[in-house]
Amino acid sequence: MATGRDGEEATSFMAMSGYAYERAGGPHPAEPRTTVSERPVRQGAVEPELNIAVMVERDDHGEFLIRELQRQRVTVRHIWPLPSQIPLQYDAIFCALSADLPQRIPWVPGEPSSALILVDDGKAPLNLKLIHNCAAHGLLHYPASSRVIQSVLMLAREHFQYERRLRGRIEKLDENLRTMRVVERAKVLLMRLKNLTEDEAYNFLRKQAMEKRVTIAAVATAVIDSHDLLS
């Protein structure tokens, strides 16, 4: 059943941002510190114009991470020591893994504001529970290669945006389920009052919705309300 879908406008982030890196495909300048086997033909590139925060200690590993990201033409902001609340305005965050990191993450798990990549320096014993609790989108382990940094950033962004699209889709589906009944009722009314077939009644609603640039549910509600008012 397509009821209620067509009249809706593609408003949200879902349609906007997801595929940037695919569009930006094509050759990319070769770079140092990659092995010979990595150098030739690389497909795709990191999304352009990303705002990335790097919250790690500025040791050799940290310097390398920052430099590699800068070489990807993204805006990099280094923040250290770790703030008590991680700022919200970044597209992706590389953040040193620490025992109290979950408390420093301002969002609740499941509603992240940024793609989060944990950076594990490998000094503390492996704590899978902690990693679970951070609900992150990727993990980088020192020492990191250029290749790993690019891949983890891309995967984390993809994962983050995919989750967001799914959440958006679920919201839309929920809304459609709730309004389906209104559309059905309006259809029945139109069929009776204007002597239309079911398809014609639906097309009438859809056409109105497109012309008025509102959802099909809104048109259906208006039809029912005005009928109530007149009868």
Binding site: V108, L128, E184
Partner: protein
Amino acid sequence: MGKVVRCAERTSAPWRVGVLFSRTGFMSVIEETQLRGTLIAIDEINDRGGVHGRPIEPVIYDPGSDARSYGQYAKRLMVEDGVSTIFGCYTSSSRKAVLPVVERLDGLLWYPTLYEGFEFSPNVIYTGATPNQNSVQLCRALMQQFGTRFFFIGSDYIYPRESNRVMRDLVRSNGGTVVGEQYLRLEADRSEFVPLLREIKRAQPDVIFSTVVGESTTFLYQAYHDLGLNPKTVPIASLTTTEAEIREMGHDVGEGHYTAAAYFQCVENERNSDFVARYHKRYGDDEPTNMCLESSYFQVNVFAKSLEATNSLDTRCLRSWVMGAEFDAPQGCVSINPVWGHADVWTRIGRANRNGQFDIVFQSAASVKSDPYLMGQGRALELC
């Protein structure tokens, strides 16, 4: 560490579970009773020796009636306290705040409150009524006895607006009209209800359908009473006004008004008389039980029964046992419907009497199958 399924732990350490009800703020009257229902059930289970010899230990936070705090405390429970099972929430806004947390970290929220339906989550067990278990019957009874002109009044948040969407559909599909619809903020005070009730009086409805919740419930009924309206001709009908709210507003104020609920204190069966007696013994004879308290109580018991079988708090393990589980609750036999993870509960309609209790005027023959998406109601929601 990590998400390893361990179905046979040998230890005497307690089973830690989270509990999130507001003891402060405008939702505290009803949520305090939900907290009590939860704790009585836990105590009874522990007095019997716990589950596999291990007591249930509640980790309790008070979100202070603030929806955002529910999300933050749910995170704290799961991340810092290492809890995966949470009992809690009254308002739909608080449930929706906890939802992303339990879904992302794979926890299990037990939600003991009636709500508007149209939701499903693999990480929630819903044990309160949805519209097919209360609104449908209530609408039918009101139309038969009082007439077809309805005035809707609700608190301004998700539940009243969504549940009125269903009720509006029911009323209209059956030849009725909605002559007015008003929402007041959740924290609305006494003075805001008087002009509203005057407006209602002018609109001359046959029934006032209320989804006002929390503290302001008292103000609504008191304003009604003060304006000299008569419940015999224009009653307030509600899905949320329980014995607890009637007690707050005064028995004389509540008298004659209607509520649809799965449970009332006056339900006659042995299980309930035991339950009420134990409750009175613990909290005093003038403390009534109510539907939200009862579902808080029975859901902990369903949890414990399932835990007995799984011997593990792992969400997947536990949830698969909960699906289809039955329990002889104070309201009668209930079960968790495996299709939606919602409880099959009873439908009852009560009229409040002078003693602050309800006289049951309608009761289903058995528990009613949960249908949160109203799939069984047909396209026009006609009452058969």
